[in-house]
Symmetry: C2
Subunit: 328 residues, 2 copies
């Protein structure tokens, strides 16, 4: 089968095009009429770097590539739009395998209301996917960036943390016991579109998805907003099973929750008055929303800190650690 026949078969598996799409895959370019503002992001998964074929099926790899890319749009408060996929396939992959991968991509597209409007298929030494995604909003100001957090804002996080890191431990070490739900958090994250749009509507001043991990992603908001983010270590909502797995593997559960990454939950800053309405809106979606800290003025360098409720810093990779002042 040639590239063009395979692309045609993949196209048959795609969901119907959304209203903004005037011409889908198969010409020199897709044609859309957005009618408002567009958020665009690109994200890539490479075999041996982001996943291993031994621990993930091709369908799962396709699903995760699409979900991870879409998560960036959810973090803007965008409505889902279109996706454009480059697939780099090693010569040894056959058509059935490529179609399984394509079905994973298409399944998440269908579930989220995303149109796969274009793509490119080439050879590559290892399986590689680059997914460019577009999301929509009536106006550019409707999108929530990383840069608007203000002193006094509450920090909130959707869902639960640490599940993806715990799932990775389970996948990499079969001798560990743990729930399949944790493995699913690693292999099959959910882009939080509805939660992101609800947080944007509630007045979120800054938002990011947790791909690098809470520590690093909080630092991104701190830097973009020129603020100090203080995260309460005692408030972090651990995913079920994370504490037990941390104990069994000799790890700090906070390490999994704050430095592990790939939970693809949303971290947002909200004016205090917006906290209640936002929690109510997310509860209606079935998504927990937990207050985990506050935004303060950055006296010095913008940064994110993790502290116990008593005030002492928690030494988790990625967070700024408060050091005791030495007498001169």
């Amino acid at each position: 089968m040639g590239e063009f026949e395979l692309l045609a078969l993949l196209r048959e598996r795609l969901p119907d095009a959304g209203p903004q799409v005037r011409l889908g895959s198969g010409d020199d370019a897709a044609v859309t009429v957005p009618g408002g503002a567009v958020a665009t992001s690109v994200d890539a998964l490479v075999e041996g770097v982001h996943f291993r074929r031994e621990t993930a099926s091709l369908r799962q790899i396709g699903r995760k590539a699409m979900s991870a890319a879409l998560s960036d749009l959810a973090a803007m408060g965008a409505a889902p739009g279109e996706a454009y996929v480059w697939l780099g396939a090693p010569e040894a992959m056959d058509e059935a395998e490529l179609l399984e991968l394509g079905e994973g991509l298409a399944a998440v597209a269908t579930e989220t209301g995303t149109t796969i409007a274009g793509g490119d298929l080439t050879r590559a030494p290892v399986l590689s996917l680059a997914v460019t995604v577009t999301g929509h909003a009536p106006n550019a100001d409707d999108f929530v960036t990383r840069g608007g957090a203000r002193p006094g804002d509450a920090l909130v996080v959707s869902g639960e943390l640490g599940g993806a890191a715990a799932g990775l431990l389970l996948l990499e070490d079969p001798s560990l016991a743990g729930d399949d739900a944790l493995r699913a958090r690693q292999l099959d994250p959910t882009p939080r579109f509805a939660a992101g749009q609800a947080l944007a509507a509630a007045g979120a001043t800054a938002m990011i998805d947790l791909s690098d991990g809470l520590a690093g992603d909080a630092a991104h908001i701190a830097t973009a907003s020129q603020a100090l983010l203080v995260v309460d270590a005692d408030a972090l909502p651990l995913a079920p099973g994370v504490a037990a797995l941390a104990a069994a593997s000799g790890r700090d559960p906070l390490e999994l929750a704050a430095a592990g990454g790939e939970d693809y939950e949303l971290l947002a800053a909200l004016p205090p008055a917006a906290l209640g309405p936002a929690q109510k809106a997310l509860a209606a979606l079935g998504t927990p929303l937990t207050a985990i800290g506050r935004v303060e003025a950055a006296a010095g360098r913008p940064r994110a800190e993790l502290r116990r409720r008593g005030g002492e810093a928690v030494p988790i990779r990625g967070f700024d650690q408060l050091r005791p002042r030495r007498p001169r």
Copy 2:
């Protein structure tokens, strides 16, 4: 240097953002307000598949990745817009090398008026680039697809053919003598934005850029338009030096011009009355436009044929070859 510092350095090398861009690289997503119709395409270059580091500098690889992607937009008659770049870099590449690559990408962006509005940088086993590009037009109908060619239309091609294939021969076999201009046709193609927009304005009914080669790309128009494309082998405008190199290397110059690919010229179908005005418009841009054939009704399967002026078929890979009918 970490990913984020390197991305910051790359951002410094980017041209100023175009008027549609409200938020560029550095947040979860870029934000644009297109104000009309958008054409989007993705194109990838992978080391060992599409280029070799031995015959192309990093700057040239960056330039070609951007130009090849943009060429698809030129073939829609689009005005240049934004680019989103995924860069997969092997661990051995240092910052200076990545910046050289970035400068190549940014140079073509600047020359064409494209904003590099976002990107992603990850590890990969070999140097890989996936470039998603967007172009603009007031209305979706302003874009020229592959599917509108009608019987009676003239076939035209911009510029000259065979240069890129000849350049590849020169790069791969240093014992061959040939002009650096041919090597440049292979390493540094030019996306034909102005020509594409002029052809669209002149009334082109179908258009494609010559990436696979005239034979294959004419077949794409034939299939999408459900037509027969008859290309006149004696009319093809050979790039200077192609005939001599073909003779020196024992090849048919038509093979280089029609099957070689990567010339990134435009092949378009035009109603006969539009031919003169289109040639005048392209002459004003300094770009030759040559009539190379005609569109006919597809009596059987839609296809493209290459024929001598006398009518006999020319056996070039990719074209349908007319076979003598056998008596039953």
